[in-house]
Symmetry: C2
Subunit: 142 residues, 2 copies
DNA sequence: CAACATTTGCAATAATGTTGCAAATGTAGG
DNA sequence: CCTACATTTGCAACATTATTGCAAATGTTG
């Protein structure tokens, strides 16, 4: 049985509203590719900016989406795959930023390798972002 | 022979101005620890915000400092060590963000491990940020 | 020291993010 | 289906981060 947006919202004890359905729909349409706040704003022009911020925050807290670090000063978010939806995240995968098209993608099958910390440091979470040319752009270049 | 701020600026063909010397001094005083724009602003209250942005950009282009990715929407910068200062960066080290004190540090001796990309993706650069409790904060907790 | 190039500070503007509050919408019980 | 209650939305205001153009100030070179 396929998860509908309503299922996902209910399962995470979020009330089902038009805004949340639209935003979740948008994420489901992406293919492992991340969205910035402004992307969502452009797609759903009618929706208030603040609502988008609050929805993204709620989805993050519930583990429906995860945030992706980036140096460009704009937060990005992507759907969590698999067992992320019960409070504990499994988003230990590598993220890829394409310098050609600017897209950010989840490499769900590539997990962040372990690195040993220097004495005294205690690691909790590791994030890894690889940049380069993505599959789509390399095809386009041939 | 020890590098003075003036040496570093001249070597990178940057004209020697008070602003650049002050900012570079600040970085040299840090110990592998990163600064945000706002940190610099607070330390050097008299300096215009725009000058700080432009100086950070110039230092980045020359490879004197490097930027560090972070999810909190504020760029961070730290001095480049070693052979970074001739246009090509060697900042392939892991960065550590302490969730206690909020500081960001360069782990100069821990380099970012190689990961194999899925077919079609071409990697250029890898960044890794580990978060947890830093040395200083763990000492303070005992 | 003079002529020229570069940098600085200011003003204006844009993008991103947060908060409080009243109106609108969603949920649950009868 | 309707009412009462809880939650969410939209708006306004505001804070922070960042960018650009331009004239005045500063640095560099001969």
């Amino acid at each position: 049985m396929k998860d509908t947006t309503v299922d996902i919202l209910k399962r995470n004890s979020l009330s089902v509203t038009d805004s949340r359905r639209s935003i979740l729909d948008l994420f489901l349409q992406q293919n492992a590719s991340a969205l910035r706040h402004s992307d969502i704003e452009h797609h759903l022009g009618a929706m208030d900016r603040v609502t988008i911020y609050r929805t993204l925050q709620a989805f993050c807290e519930k583990g429906i989406i995860h945030s992706i670090p980036g140096s460009d000063g704009a937060a990005r978010y992507a759907l969590c795959k698999g067992g992320c939806e019960h409070g504990h995240h499994h988003d230990d995968h590598v993220h890829f930023v394409c310098t050609q098209c600017g897209s950010t993608q989840c490499l769900d099958d590539v997990h962040v390798p372990f690195v040993r910390m220097p004495d005294g440091f205690e690691a909790n979470k590791s994030e890894m972002v690889v940049s380069g040319t993505c599959k789509g752009c390399r095809k386009r270049m041939n």
